[in-house]
Amino acid sequence: MVDKAKPTAVALEDATVAFRLADSRIFTAVEKARLAVAHGEFVAIVGPTGCGKSTLLNVAAGLLKPAAGSVRIFDQPLAGLNRDAGYLFQADALFPWKTAIDNVAIGLEIKGAPRGKALEQAQAWLTSVGLGAFANRYPHMLSGGQRKRVGLAQVLIRDPKILLMDEPFGPLDAQTRQVMGNLLLELWSADRKAVLFVTHDLEEAIALADRVVIMSAGPGSRIIGDWRVELPRPRDIFEVRLDKQFHELHREIWGVLKEEVMKGYAQSSQRGGAA
């Protein structure tokens, strides 16, 4: 399914991830996941809650070592951290001791940019995520959605070659979501990053991505579906939803997904069952 012409940015080859529980049993979260993201490709991952999406991103980021299988980044086996990737975490990960603008600027300062310039660019980024007026706030003075957007700016300002995004638009209202989605698409089309985008919103996934990947319910979650989205680019996130092709794809994927969710729900709610 991968375009042979382009190099592969992220390749998980039969990656299995297991956690050791407190009672020292082993919980296999993801089993033999096989996923290749080409350079410049936008892949959305959708799956029932708790199936292992965040786990997969952690593996791609090099934060988690798979128990079996391998991870290749630009065709090199990944040892340690993935230095090419920017990661927007699902949980709140801003530095509480830095103001919004410092939180954003730090990405550049680390690379050695002079502070003045870093701040200037950070302010520009804050403005594009709609927080120009909140530059001097510490994270605890921001709302949930505002914090997420600062996090977004923090990752994007570094201009990484691979973007890992874990529910980046989760706590945003529908309208802001679209604005942010368009912003992301604009950036992405400018210099074609590889994007791994986790979301619960299937419409969003289809509207944004080149491919939508579906994971099965855990434990031992696998990748059970992989759809290519052939909608024309450039897309406007709102308008693309009116497309007929969009609706067909949505129905098709939704059918698979719904079944999977119900299965997972039945499994994991039994006492002492899967976990």
Binding site: G86, D92, L94, F95, I106, H140
Partner: protein, 260 residues
């Protein structure tokens, strides 16, 4: 509680304690003096001793020496504690290997080491500073070590994914995150720095408050002993206020606790 009420309460506490002290050293309770003046003197004598010291000016020289020793011990001890604490926290292997030795060293009675310090550092201020350092160091070290290990994993992962190298992680993640641990230990160790200096002087010196206290003790002048300790404590409050100022400045980012 307003500043004025607070100050009033604080003064009240002092007044009550002093009044009780005065009463128990002079008025017998059930036919017995609870605080024999031979061991406890009484506030009036202590106070007049303090006044005498300050009015005659003899105290300044001693006070200056002790303060200087305390501050040196505090600064050197805490800087060393912070550095080694960070180093250990970031080098789990080194930490694991040296852990038992650090703990053993912490249990050495410093008083017994005094002759060795005198050997190495002479009888001047440096042997006292060394004694203070051995107290301050461990208090700060253990807290910083733990504080660095308490960094939130998400924030740490974020720093690493943003491409921070070890030095940058230190500066932007570990350091600010361990700050409140550090300051907690600094508040404890201000007192211990002073204790170290005074005990050092007490064991051998030509000047300083510890020396004054020892002289007074030698002639059973309890008022002098207490006066020395009071002057000391008062100055500790001053040093501690300086620490608190720095703390406030560095920890502006913390949410202020909601009134409950």
């Amino acid at each position: 509680m307003s500043r004025v009420t607070l100050l009033f309460c604080q003064v009240m506490v002092a007044v009550i304690v002093l009044a009780l002290w005065q009463a128990f050293t002079t008025v017998p309770v059930f036919g017995r003096i609870l605080l024999p003046p031979f061991f406890f003197s009484n506030p009036i004598d202590v106070f007049s001793q303090i006044v005498k010291w300050f009015s005659s000016g003899v105290i300044w020289k001693h006070l200056a020496i002790t303060l200087w020793e305390s501050i040196l011990a505090f600064v050197i001890g805490s800087v060393a504690g912070i550095l080694v604490g960070f180093w250990f926290a970031r080098q789990p292997r080194v930490a694991a290997v040296f852990d038992p030795y650090v703990k053993m060293t912490n249990a050495l009675p410093r008083v017994v080491l005094a002759p060795i310090f005198a050997l190495w550092f002479g009888l001047g201020i440096w042997s006292k500073v060394a004694l203070g350092v051995t107290l301050v160091f461990f208090i700060v070290f253990f807290n910083v070590y733990q504080g660095v290990k308490e960094v939130s994993t998400t924030v740490l992962d974020n720093g690493r994914m943003l491409g921070m190298n070890e030095r940058q992680l230190m500066r932007h993640v570990y350091w600010p995150s361990a700050l409140s641990w550090m300051f907690s230990s600094l508040h404890t160790s201000v007192g211990f720095a002073v204790v170290g200096a005074v005990v050092g002087e007490y064991l051998g010196a030509a000047a300083g408050l510890g020396y004054l206290i020892q002289q007074a003790e030698g002639v059973f002048d309890v008022a002098g002993v207490f006066a020395g300790m009071f002057v000391l404590s008062a100055f500790v409050i001053l040093i501690d206020m300086a620490v608190t100022l720095v703390e406030r400045r560095l920890l502006v980012w913390r949410p202020t606790v909601r009134e409950s």
